[in-house]
């Protein structure tokens, strides 16, 4: 009963692909936003902070709907991206990845920002007096020292993307093999008369994946902290 069916594997593979894509593509922007929030002094910083955190408190279905009207084929961005880059989001796995990226963004940004804020500004000042331009200071000092936060943020974002349901199903629906991620598949199993076994199977998979991701992040962060405090 607990043996995974071919359909289950399709959903699992799709989920991993969607989550990995969402995490990888949002990472550069996440690092940039975290740096702006941690070190920047500019007009509208509080506003940016608010926007980044919005997906945490807004109903996922609203996010999904907003994505639908803006990134659908008729939407402003959707039409533009299709015309210029041939990139289509609606009812495609790429749309699922976009929805997951938006929902996971606050979880990605927050740990990176916290690590960056904990870096002593004088380390960056020391680097600049040694001749490093702001760009070099960022890449040789700030970024390497933020690595634990970057890893933690990426893992959280990945785990969130694996479990994202509301925004995804609203934006790109629930198409097996294209947009049906693990949560959507569980939803389908639950809605069918004899789907209990399938729902249990995939729920267990979700549990294992989520737990593994959190454990991995803990281990990585601990390893970094140990390396930083001078090794064994």
């Amino acid at each position: 009963m607990l043996t995974l069916q071919p359909d289950d594997w399709v959903a699992i593979r799709l989920s991993l692909k969607v989550a990995a894509t969402a995490t990888l593509f949002s990472l550069p922007l996440g690092i940039a936003v975290a740096f702006a929030l941690a070190r920047g002094r500019f007009y509208g910083r509080t506003m940016l902070d608010g926007i980044v955190h919005l997906p945490l408190v807004l109903p996922p279905v609203v996010i999904g709907y907003l994505l639908l009207i803006h990134f659908g084929r008729q939407g402003v961005f959707g039409a533009f991206l299709e015309a210029n880059l041939g990139l289509v989001f609606s009812f495609r796995w790429t749309g699922a990845a976009l929805a997951c990226a938006v929902m996971g963004f606050p979880l990605l940004v927050q740990p990176i920002r916290l690590t960056m804020e904990s870096i002593d500004v004088r380390l960056e000042q020391a680097a600049s007096t040694l001749g490093a331009s702001p760009v070099w200071v960022f890449f040789t000092i700030t970024l390497p020292l933020s690595l634990p936060g970057i890893v933690a943020g990426a893992v959280l974002c990945f785990a969130k993307a694996l479990g994202e349901f509301g925004a995804t199903i609203t934006f790109v629906s629930n198409i097996p093999g294209e947009t049906q991620t693990i949560p959507s598949a569980v939803h389908t199993y639950i809605s069918s008369p004899d789907g209990d076994a399938g729902a249990i199977r995939l729920s267990l998979v979700s549990l294992i994946l989520a737990f593994a991701a959190l454990l991995a992040s803990q281990l990585i962060v601990r390893r970094f902290t140990r390396a930083k405090s001078g090794g064994a």
């Binding site: 380390l123 007096t129 490093a132 070099w136």
Partner: protein, 369 residues
């Protein structure tokens, strides 16, 4: 070398400082909040003046009148922080060579080997900065700043975070730095001993302004008439090494007014030795005392007495022309019938001389190797 003239206000703090310095170490001395660190930040480009001009050896770093303000990474200024601020994710070698990637090579005059040997950090190169002691970390930080070939080295209270033994360990290295490389150094400290030992020129700061500037003796030996500040009054005397007595662990210095006995071993190769004497550690006698534990008896004559409360700050010109100041009670002055022009013997307790204030003194730990 340094041509500094800047003003700035932050809240209730008004900063208006102008000074020029020469080669060697310029000591910036003053209590906390007097604006010493602001000078450092202005020169390094971490803070901008509201008005002013900063030039190092003729090169203008900032000039508000001409709208010039170079960013920190284009100033060529080495900065050593109070707490080393080594890059924790890089090894000691990588820390040391960090600035080399950004420094134009022709300007390079200081070799990696020379810096490593002067600072005695050869055995640390493969280590992580996190495994170093405070003193080692500070030496690496100094090396890192030097290897970026700066036109000026700024040292912001580099010893303040260290205990006395670590201070004594680093001071000889800073002296070697001053003597072996030609880089001018601006050294900030609130310790008179450190400043008096190291500095060629001293700038004394108070409440965001320059209170006095000049040779260490002239600035630091200046009269401090307030009784509450009597522990801040110091003088420096300069002698030459006569011998080191290994049995008793003391060095004996020649001075026209009499031999000076100081604790510890002084490097024989050194030139003049400067010793910082606190005015409160000098006793006076109207005749050469017999049967007394004090080994250093310096002959001179009283040039002035300034009373403050129960105390009297006595200025003395030693044989040979150097001036020192001694704090004694007014009662003692009266009993000894001391007055300007009278001969006097200044007695210095060797035990009370702070090793930090003896130039060229080798640290106990570096004596072993």
């Amino acid at each position: 070398m340094i041509d500094f003239d800047c003003s700035l206000s932050r809240g209730t703090f008004n900063f208006d400082v102008a000074f020029k310095s020469t080669a060697g170490i310029t000591g910036l001395f003053g209590p906390s909040g007097s604006g010493k660190s602001t000078v450092i930040q202005l020169i390094a480009g971490l803070v901008r003046p509201s008005r002013g001009r900063i030039a190092i050896t003729g090169r203008v770093l900032a000039d508000t009148a001409r709208g010039i303000s170079l960013p920190p990474h284009k100033r060529g200024i080495g900065l050593v922080f109070q707490d080393a601020q080594l890059f924790p994710h890089l090894s000691v070698t990588q820390n040391l060579t960090y600035g080399r990637y950004f420094t134009p090579q022709p300007k390079d005059t200081i070799s990696f080997e020379a810096v490593v040997s002067v600072l005695g950090i050869g055995h640390l190169l493969q280590r992580s900065p996190l495994t170093l002691s405070g003193g080692e970390r500070q030496r690496v930080a100094i090396g890192r700043a030097l290897l970026a070939s700066p036109g000026l080295l700024l040292m912001d209270e580099p010893l303040a975070a260290l205990d006395t033994n670590r201070k004594l360990e680093i001071l000889p290295f800073i002296e070697r730095l001053r003597d072996e490389f030609t880089i001018p150094i601006l050294y900030v400290s609130h310790s008179v001993e450190e400043i008096a030992r190291l500095a060629t020129t001293v700038i004394k700061m108070e409440a965001g302004t320059v209170a006095a500037a000049g040779a260490p003796d002239a600035v630091l030996g200046a009269v401090v008439p307030k009784a509450a500040e009597r522990f801040d009054a110091i003088s420096t005397i300069t002698g030459s090494l006569q011998s080191y007595d290994s049995d008793f662990g003391v060095s004996i210095l020649n001075h026209p007014a009499g031999a000076i006995v100081v604790p510890g071993r002084i490097d024989a190769a050194r030139g003049p030795i400067r010793v910082v004497l606190r005015a409160t550690n000098i006793s006076l006698a109207s005749a050469r005392p017999e049967a007394v534990s004090i080994r250093t008896v310096l002959k001179g004559r009283v040039t002035g007495i300034e009373n403050s409360g129960p105390f009297a700050l006595t200025s003395i010109e030693l044989d040979g022309g150097e001036r020192i100041a001694a704090y004694v009670t007014r009662l003692a002055i009266a009993d000894l019938e001391l007055a300007a022009g009278k001969p006097v013997y200044a007695l210095v307790k060797s035990v009370a001389i702070d090793e930090i204030g003896i130039s060229g003194l080798q640290a106990a730990s570096s004596r072993a190797d």
